[in-house]
Structures are given as C-alpha cells and as structure tokens.
C-alpha cells in the first residue's frame, strides 16, 4: 500500500520533556541495521508537529520524521499506542520496527507485534549484519538467564521484524546534516476502544538520602543472605565514609528503604567508587550504576555478569572479604 521503499522505522520516546537517551541509542541501532542492508531510516514520535522538540532530533539524519498527533495519545495507554502505531506501520510498511526497550514499550509492543503475527525480539544488545544482506538476514543478540548467556536470534518470514533495544547497548550517533521531512500522522482512534484508565504518575516516598551526591557507594545484594548480616556492609560503608545502596531484592524485602535501590526502577548513580557486594549484575541493576568512575565487584561467582563492568574484582566469599576490607580501610586511614 506504500510507494516508499521499505526501511527501518524507529519509535522515539519523550522523558522529562526531552527525547530520551535510550531513544537515541535505538536510533543508532536502527542506523546500524539500515547501513548493513541499504535501507533508509524513518523516525516517529508521539507529539504535535509544532513541538520544538522536533528541532532537537540529531544523530544521523532520518528520511522522514512522523509526528503522531492525537488527543487520545496525550496520556499513555497500551490500546491507544498500539492502535496508532499499527496504523503508521501499515502506512510506512517498514522491514524493521525498532523501539527503545522501556517499560512503556514492554507494555504495548508485544501486542502490536502480535497484530502483525510477529514476535518482538526484545532487549537486543547487538546486531550483526551479514554480507549479501538480501539473502542473509541479520543476527540479533540478546541475553538469557539474567546475563549469563548470550543468544543469537533470527527473524524468519515476510512481515516486519520488531525489535527493542536495550539501554546502553548502542552509542548514540554524532550529529550529521541531512535532508529530513517532518510529516504529521493523525491516527484514527476511538475513545471507546481504550479500555484502561491510567492515573497520574507519583513517587512513592520522599527522598531523604541523596545517593547521587555520595562519592563512594557500598552496594549490597542478595549475596548478603539475611537482614541480620547487613552490619557487615554497614561497617565497611562507615569506614569508607560511604553511603549504603542496594539491589532491588534487598529493598523489596524491606531490609533497606527503596530510596537506596539502584537500577532501572530505582536510582541512577555515578559515584567515584561503586562497590557491588554480592550483586550478580542483572541488566536492570547495571543501567543504574554503569556510569560510575570505578566499579569494584566482590562476588563468589567468577562468572557473575557484574565482572563484565567491574574495574577491580575480588572473587570470594563476601563474609570473609568484606570484614578484611573494612579492617584494611581502617588501617590505611590510620
């Protein structure tokens, strides 16, 4: 139904009135894919075309930027977004549809793919394009078993291939000049078909600690086993003059307040030193601390994914290593 040649369609997201960083990364992934296959890149964003945010679109220039504009999209609903996106996909008829892997995307993209009898390849960390792209489709890499294994996936069949791109996996492109057209896309939406009623977002608790300003964070994970063992890491934090942080299960158990949780559903931190103690290094944790200047991991499992990002590592039992470290710090500080 479309006269355009097929290409890669990337859906961007707005966060805090800006196009989110992970959206730029998804766009970079889309360009990687497009270059390998001689395709063009189009992008789409839910917003009115008059929004100055469109002037901030940078990186390698897309062919067309679609402003998806409808009053029923002012607040996010899976029904509204899936319907609107499906209509644009039908019009543009891309070979690949690329999303940033955000909570919002996880909520509707699997539905959307299903409407096209497709399966979203979620949380992609790498794309390998092959020579002779027409006959050899690309390989998509994603993690299994919480980062302990990588898997190669391939898309088969004729429909569009849906992908979501993991945070931090691609580096946003540098700005390049190019001719881009801005087009308004007004989907046909029916209020009666939007079945969910979303409420206003809110924050759970008042923030009383500012993890962001601590220069050293001692972060504890499920390796600590029991709440009663927390003093071991607390003593290290005190010796270092550090704040205590944690992975999600520690906060879920109520052993530390949620405001100390680091990761995609908690805080994002970038201290001078981040000590990860008994933390495996699941991606949702890593996205919250990868930017730290120096990462130290203490873990009994030498294959724990946390070592992929650590500058220094001690492979051992934290119940031996942490007290020894506290003693060494106190000694060094005299």
């Amino acid at each position: 139904m479309s006269e355009l040649t097929s290409g890669v369609l990337v859906f961007l997201e707005i966060k805090n009135r800006e196009i989110s960083r992970i959206s730029w990364e998804a766009m970079a992934a889309a360009h990687t894919l497009a270059e390998g296959h001689g395709l063009s890149v189009d992008v789409a964003l839910v917003s009115s075309p008059g929004n100055p945010i469109f002037e901030t679109i940078h990186g390698k220039a897309p062919r067309t930027v679609y402003a998806i504009d409808h009053p029923l999209l002012h607040e996010y609903t899976a029904d509204g977004f899936a319907a609107a996106y499906a209509q644009l996909i039908e019009q543009v008829n891309p070979s690949y549809v690329v999303f940033p892997h955000t909570y919002q995307v996880r909520d509707f993209a699997p539905c959307l793919a299903t409407r096209f009898k497709q399966v979203l390849i979620s949380d992609v960390t790498g794309i390998e394009t092959h020579a002779g792209a027409e006959t050899a489709p690309p390989t998509f890499i994603r993690q299994l078993l919480q980062g302990k294994l990588n898997a190669h996936y391939r898309h088969r069949g004729t429909g569009p291939c849906f992908l979501s791109i993991q945070a931090g996996a691609f580096r946003a492109d540098a700005a390049e000049a190019g001719a881009t057209t801005l087009a308004t896309f007004e989907p046909r939406l029916d209020a009666a078909k939007i079945r969910t009623k979303p409420g206003e977002p809110f924050r759970a608790s008042a923030q009383t600690v500012d993890l962001g300003s601590a220069s050293i964070l001692v972060s504890v994970g499920r390796g600590i086993k029991e709440e009663a063992n927390l003093p071991i890491v607390q003593e290290l934090a005190t010796a270092l003059g550090a704040e205590l942080a944690a992975s999600r299960p520690i906060c879920d158990s109520g052993w530390l307040p949620m405001e100390r949780q680091v990761g995609s559903s908690g805080q994002t931190v970038a201290p001078k030193v981040y000590l990860a103690i008994g933390i495996s290094g699941a991606i949702q944790h890593l996205v919250g601390m990868k930017g730290s200047q120096c990462i130290v991991a203490i873990n009994k499992d030498e294959n724990a994914p946390i070592f992929e990002v650590a500058d220094y590592g001690i492979v051992g039992d934290l119940f031996d290593v942490v007290p020894a470290l506290t003693a060494a710090v106190l000694k060094a500080k005299g």
Binding site: V119, K197, P201, C251, M258, D320
Partner: protein, 257 residues
C-alpha cells in the same frame, strides 16, 4: 473471583551454565528447577485476592513432565486446580506460539483475571502475558505490584521507571503481568502439601488444544557464553591480601581514599 495464574518452571538461579550439544540451550542434566520468581508473586497475589473475595485459583503451565512438580508446589500453596499443557518440545515455539497454547488452554475458563509473571528468569522475553491478552482480546496492564477489586474491574498499582508509580483502572476480564517483590511469599504447609495430592491437574497436549501450529517467526539459533572483553583486574590471594591490594588501588590509582 476466578483467577488463572500462568507459571513457568525455570532453572534455579545458581544452576551451572554449560552449553548443550546442539548449542541452542544449556545442558539440563543435573540442573534443579524452580518456580519462576515473578510467577511466585503472581500466585501470591492470586491467593490473597481469593482469600479476600472468594473464588478459585487455577494454575496453568506449559512444559514437559517435570513441570508437574512445580505445579504440585503451587497447589500445595493453595491453588485449587491446574492445567498442564504437556510438551517436551516447547523450545520449538516462539513467544507467540507459547502464548497461543496458553490462550487455547484457558479460553473456555471464563476467568475474571489472568495473571502471569512479568518476565521469565531463563528466556527473559517479558512478553508472554501481553501477547496472551492480545490473543484473547482482553485489556492488560504490565509491571503490576498490587491488585484491588474496583467497580466493574480492578485497580492496579503499576511500576514505572526510576521509582515512579501509577494506578491503572481496567475492566475485567483482564490480563496482568506481575512484578516481583511486593509481598511476602507464603510457604506450603504440611496440610497444603497433603491436599495438593488430591487436587485436579488437567493434562492436555498441544495437539488436543488444536492450537494451530504455525511456523515460528523468531528463531533462537544458538547460545554462547558472553565473550569476556572485560578489563577487570582480579585481585587474588587470601581475603586479607585481596583487601589490602584493593585499598592500595583505591588510594593511589583511584584516589578515592
């Protein structure tokens, strides 16, 4: 309230990771299996809703015979009955294929709610529940921490990024994917374990469900251990030696002490 909970059996968290002969999955010999973490929370939510409002909790699982053990554990915790979609060859299905099986198994159940975990700990697709909703034509909400009954449906607490939340209201029947961590999980009691033995487990095969076997659109071709391009300096020796070495680094290289 009639609630269906989709539960998946997955390898234990600290299972030894060795790649199998075909190079498409891990060697399952000697691997212990367990109930997927977020599914345990989905089951807990369902049991709590039943305690509050009455009704029935039905667990649903697709997988080989060994899945029966995880199903019994769910029954021992208080689920009323189970549906086991028996297949030795679930890896041949993509997420849409698995969701089609689950949809076919529950479509005549007239449940008010279908709960799934947010994400499986092995494949981590994070989408089976959402696809299921689409296949059944039901509204859904994902990343749910809490469910309350409301006029004509439910009001749920949904997790957003960076420590934000929102409430969402939706009519029932609906599908919810449950995030881990919001409540304390119960253990099976001795009484529960005894009772579980007599509870109904309906076994069906994909063939009996006549879930049209369609070719997978997404294929897992092979698995690999992550290639370690790490620059980590591992500090060896005894705990005291490693600790002393780390303090040196922090003092003189990182200049953080």
């Amino acid at each position: 309230m009639k609630i269906i909970v989709a539960i998946k059996q997955v390898p234990e968290r600290d299972a030894r990771i060795r790649i199998d002969a075909e190079g498409t999955w891990i060697d399952l010999q000697d691997v212990e299996f367990t109930l997927n973490e977020s599914d345990a929370y989905a089951l807990e939510e369902a049991l709590q809703l039943k305690e509050e409002h009455g009704g029935e909790v039905v667990v649903l699982s697709a997988g080989p015979e060994r899945v029966g053990k995880t199903i019994r554990e769910a029954l021992a915790k208080g689920a009323d009955r189970a549906i086991h979609v028996e297949s030795d060859d679930l890896a041949a299905y993509d997420a849409l294929g698995v969701a089609r099986l689950l949809a076919a198994a529950v479509k005549d159940e007239q449940a008010d709610l279908i709960l799934t975990g947010l994400q499986s700990d092995d494949l981590g697709l994070g989408q089976t529940g959402v696809i299921l909703a689409e296949l059944l034509g039901l509204p859904h909400a994902s990343l749910i921490l809490k469910i309350e009954a409301a006029e004509g449906g439910v009001k749920v607490l949904r997790e957003l990024e960076d420590g934000w939340f929102q409430h969402v209201e939706l009519p029932t029947p609906a599908v919810l994917t449950i995030q881990s961590g919001n409540s304390k999980l119960r253990y099976a009691t001795l009484m529960g374990i005894k009772k579980a033995k007599t509870k109904e487990v309906r076994r069906v095969t994909p063939l009996e469900l006549a879930a049209e076997p369609e070719a997978s659109v997404v294929v897992l071709e092979r698995v690999l251990l992550p290639n370690k391009q790490r620059t980590t300096q591992i500090l060896g020796g005894s705990p005291a030696e490693a600790a002393a070495a780390l303090v040196e680094k922090l003092r003189f290289e990182v200049r953080a002490l």
